[in-house]
Symmetry: C2
Subunit: 86 residues, 2 copies
């Protein structure tokens, strides 16, 4: 499936959450990750995030079962390419 | 259709971009907006955003034609309710 995960977590946990999400998905922009992932891996990823975060943090998961059902458009700079430039 | 729009724009344009997106969609978290919108209104919204932003800014638009094809889950706090609390 295709997922988009956005997070808004306490500053002191940002790096850990970001690192964890990088292990499963592609960073796109700010606090947004996206990518194709199996249901099993997504469950694993969310369990691991749960251990890293607190109830006051916020993580949104948008799931689209069939990647063909979602279309992505970029206006302006495609930040997801920045990672290849550093 | 259902859309998720995320932005990463220069600090001096954040307020304008945010205000514009609020006119069409629901703010969810950080620089993320979502909501159901007609194709016509989305085109209008994106044209207006284009006028407000520069090529160095970045706006991502994820479109799902049938809202039934996308499922949203929230871990932790649902920030989208914060707006009703202030």
């Amino acid at each position: 499936m295709f997922v988009i995960i956005t997070y808004d977590v306490d500053e002191k946990r940002v790096a850990k959450v970001c690192k964890k999400l990088r292990a499963y998905l592609d960073w796109t922009q700010n606090s947004v990750f996206e990518g194709e992932i199996t249901k099993g891996k997504l469950i694993k990823c969310l369990r691991e995030l749960e251990l890293l975060t607190s109830d006051s943090d916020s993580i949104y998961v948008y799931k689209v079962e069939n990647p063909k059902h979602i279309v992505k458009e970029v206006m302006g700079q495609d930040r997801s390419f920045d990672k290849f430039m550093f």
